[in-house]
Symmetry: C2
Subunit: 430 residues, 2 copies
C-alpha cells in the first residue's frame, strides 16, 4: 500500500489510505479523540476510537496510520481520516518537550530553539524558511545554468591566507598549517581563465570574525559567480538583476504557501538604482546627518540609505558602486571615471549588504604592480598570480550570501533563523 | 554586437560575427595564417591576413575577433571565419607553456598537470570531465528533488570527533578545537527526524587518511541522501538504482560530445545484483583463490568480484549487502536474517566502491545500548543521541563519492583526474 501525504488527501476520498508522520496534537473527548497527524506536507485530523491505542499515544511519536478519509466541514482543511489501524513506528523517550511545536508561538529564546534544532524544525513555519532557501539555491543554479555558466566545486582547505589573513580559521593539515577558504575567489577566477569562461559555485565560506551580531555567521553558504569577456562591472549588475527577477518569479511559482506564512510580498524588479558610494555618503550626511566611515557606509548607514531608496525609488534594492581602491581587495579593477575608485559594487537589500562584486584586474603586470602598491609581496600569491600569465581575459563576478538573502526576504531579525545549524563564536553544536 | 560561440557558427553564415576566446593553434603560410580560436564551446578556424597582427599573436592569448564565417570543406567543422578585426584582450607573459594544450596528448605527468590546473583545463578533453561531473550533480539533484527530497546545507565545522576519531582534520575554532566533518551523517539523520523526512546534500567531506592512493582524496564531494519511513535497506538500493537509471538517461541527453571523447558506452541498467558480503567472499576464495579480510573485501577483491559480476550478470554494478556489525558504524541497523550482520550495503562500480549505505537504528534505547556494546560512551554523543528521544521514524540513506563515480564512468586511472583541484597528503595547491 502506497503512502499518501496529508496534503494529497483532497483528491482521494472514501478509500483506505496509508499515512505516515508524527503526532502533532491530541484532543480527547472520552470515547474518541481527534489526533492531528503531521507529515512534511501538512497536518491532517484523525479520528481514533480505540481507547487502548489512544492511551499509548504521545505527542511527537511517529506513526503509521490506515484509515478512510471523509469530508468534514469542521475539520481543518475540510477532511478527516477515520482510523482503522495505527501503529507506533518511532517511540518517544522524553518527559517534557523543550517548547511547544503545535502552538502559534514558540515560548523559547532563539538560543533554545537552536539548541533543539531537531525539535524547532518540526514546526511547519520553521521548515518553511528552509524550503524557501532551497528554492533560492534552485533558482540561482537554474538561472546561471541557463545563461551558460558551469558549476564548480573548489577546495575549502587552502594553503595560504593571502586573501584574508587574520580572519581565517586554521586547519591542521597533516604536518602543516592550512586555512579554511574565506571565499572561492581565487579559484573561480582561475576556472574562468582555464576556459570554463563562466562559472558558479554553491559552497561554504568561512570567516573567523571576532564578533557575534545579528548579521554575521562564521560558516555560511556563498552563491558565487564569475564570468569572462565582460565589458565592465555593469554587465555583472545586469546578471544580478536578471537573477533576482528570475528568483522572485520562481518563488512565486514554488513557495506560495511558505511565503504566506511570513506575509511576504515579493518585490517586482524593473531596474535597481546604481549610486556611487560617495553620493550615498553625501545623501546620508545631508538628509540624515549621518556620518560614514572612510570609503564605506556602516550598518546604520545601510539601513538609512535603504529607507531613502525606498522613498525615492520605491525599491528594496540599491547598488552602491565605485568603492575606493583602499577599501577593496588588491585584485579589484581601478575605475576609469573617478580617481582612486574601483569598478566594484555592493548590493544592499532592505538595509543589509547581500552581495559584493566587481570587475577584476586581468592583466598580469597590472595585478603584480597593484600588489606592490598595496604593500603585498607578489611572490606570496604563488599559483594565483602565475595563472594570469596565460592570456587571462577581462572578467568579474560577485557573491550572494544565502542566509542573508533568505533572512531579508522573509523579514527575519537574526541570520541564525535562516541557518539550519549556525556556527558562531559561541555555537558549534548541534 | 552580441558574441557568438564557435559551436554556434553553423547557423549564422555570411554575416559579420563577434567571437571571443583563446589562440589555440597557429599555422602560418607567409602572407596569411590559419589561427584556431578556442572558446568554451569548441575550436574554429580563423583566416588572418594582417601580418602586423599575426606577428603579435601568441598561443593562449585571449582575443576578440570580428569576421565573416564562410563554408570551407577543408576546415575542421566545415566552417572558417575570415577575420576583419582582431583585438588582444588578455596578454600572455610566459616563455614556454608547461605542456601543450593543442596536441593530442599531454606530455607531462599527472602531477605537473595538477600543478598547472589553469593550463590543463584549457584542453577540451580535460574540461569535458567536469562538464560530465556537473551533469552528474544536476542529475542527482533533479532525481531526488523529483522524489520529494529536500536539499540541505549542514555544517562542516563540528564539535566532536565521535564518528571518526583519528581520521579527522582539526580546526582551531576561536579558543577551542573543532573538526572538519567526515560526512553529514548525523545531521542528515537529524533533519529527517526534524520533519523534512527526505533530504539530500551535495557538499564537501573530509578524511585525514594517512595514505595517498589512486582512489583516495582528503577532501571530496559527497552526494548524500537520507530518507524516513523506509521498510529496510532494499528501499534505499531501489532509490540508488532509480538514480543511476536517471543519471545515464540524463548524460545521454546532455553530454554526448563529452562522453565520446572518452569512448564511454553508457550502461543500460535494469537490475543490479545484490550479494551478501560473505557470499562474495566465498566466491572470491573458490573462484580466484582470493582471501578477504574479516568482514570486508579489499581493493583487489573489489576488482576481482566486479570481473565475476560482469561475466555472470553482465553488470558494471553490484551491491554487496549484510556487512557484519563489527565493520559498520554503531548506528547501523542489525539484520534480522543473519546473526551479527547489518542492514547495510556498498555499491561497487567497475571494481571500486562508490557508495556506502544502510538502514540506521532509529530507536533511542537500541542506539544507546548499541553504543555501550561497541564500547562507546552514550554521553559523548550529546545532541545526536538526544535527537532520537522524540519519535525518530525508521530511516536510512547512502552517500555517493562524486569524484569516484566520475572516474569510473570515464575510465580514468586516478581519482585526481576527476577532481578540479585535488587535496591529498602532499598536495594543497593550487
Amino acid at each position: 500500500m502506497k503512502r499518501v501525504l496529508a496534503a494529497e488527501l483532497t483528491e482521494i476520498m472514501d478509500d483506505l489510505v496509508l499515512l505516515k508522520g508524527w503526532i502533532h496534537k491530541m484532543k480527547s473527548f472520552g470515547k474518541f479523540a481527534f489526533v492531528f497527524l503531521r507529515d512534511k506536507s501538512g497536518v491532517i485530523q484523525l479520528v481514533i476510537e480505540d481507547e487502548k491505542i489512544l492511551s499509548q499515544l504521545k505527542l511527537e511519536m511517529s506513526v503509521e496510520v490506515k484509515g478512510i478519509p471523509v469530508k468534514n466541514g469542521k475539520a481543518p482543511g475540510g477532511i478527516e481520516v477515520q482510523v482503522k489501524e495505527i501503529e507506533i513506528i518511532g517511540k518517544t523517550y522524553y518527559d517534557l518537550l523543550p517548547f511547544s511545536i503545535n502552538q502559534k508561538k514558540v515560548e523559547a529564546t532563539l538560543e533554545t530553539e537552536l539548541d533543539y534544532r531537531y525539535i524547532s524544525l518540526r514546526r511547519p513555519d520553521r521548515r518553511a524558511i528552509f524550503k524557501i532557501q532551497a528554492e533560492i539555491v534552485e533558482a540561482f543554479k537554474g538561472y546561471f545554468k541557463e545563461q551558460g555558466f558551469h558549476e564548480i566545486h573548489t577546495p575549502k582547505i587552502i594553503a595560504s591566507g593571502t586573501e584574508g589573513g587574520s580572519e581565517m580559521f586554521t586547519v591542521n593539515y597533516f604536518d602543516r598549517r592550512a586555512f579554511l577558504a574565506q571565499s572561492p575567489q581565487f579559484y573561480k577566477q582561475m576556472m574562468v581563465g582555464a576556459g570554463f569562461e563562466s562559472v558558479f559555485e554553491i559552497g561554504h565560506a568561512y570567516r573567523a570574525e571576532l564578533h557575534n551580531t545579528w548579521r554575521h555567521l562564521n560558516e555560511y553558504v556563498s552563491l558565487d559567480i564569475e564570468t569572462a569577456f565582460i565589458k565592465d562591472e555593469y554587465d555583472l549588475m545586469e546578471f544580478e538583476i536578471g537573477f533576482l527577477k528570475h528568483l522572485f518569479q520562481h518563488l512565486e511559482e514554488n513557495c506560495k504557501k511558505e511565503l504566506e506564512m511570513y506575509n511576504v510580498v515579493l518585490p517586482k524588479i524593473k531596474e535597481i538604482p546604481k549610486i556611487p558610494l560617495f553620493e550615498a555618503q553625501k545623501i546620508l550626511l545631508e538628509k540624515y546627518d549621518k556620518k560614514s566611515p572612510l570609503g564605506n557606509i556602516d550598518a546604520e548607514g545601510e539601513i538609512l540609505f535603504s529607507k531613502y531608496i525606498q522613498e525615492e525609488y520605491n525599491s528594496d534594492f540599491v547598488f552602491l558602486t565605485k568603492y575606493p581602491a583602499s577599501k577593496r581587495p588588491v585584485y579589484t579593477m581601478p575605475d576609469d571615471q573617478y580617481e582612486g575608485a574601483t569598478k566594484s559594487f555592493d548590493l544592499i537589500y532592505k538595509g543589509l549588504e547581500i552581495t559584493t562584486g566587481g570587475q577584476r584586474i586581468h592583466d598580469y603586470e597590472m595585478l603584480r604592480d597593484n600588489m606592490i602598491k598595496f604593500g603585498l609581496k607578489p611572490e606570496d600569491f604563488g599559483f594565483y598570480l602565475d595563472s594570469f600569465k596565460y592570456g587571462m581575459p577581462p572578467h568579474g563576478g560577485f557573491a550572494i550570501g544565502l542566509e542573508r538573502i533568505t533572512m531579508k526576504l522573509l523579514g527575519l531579525d537574526n541570520i541564525r533563523e535562516s541557518t539550519l545549524l549556525p556556527r558562531d563564536m559561541n555555537r558549534i553544536t548541534p
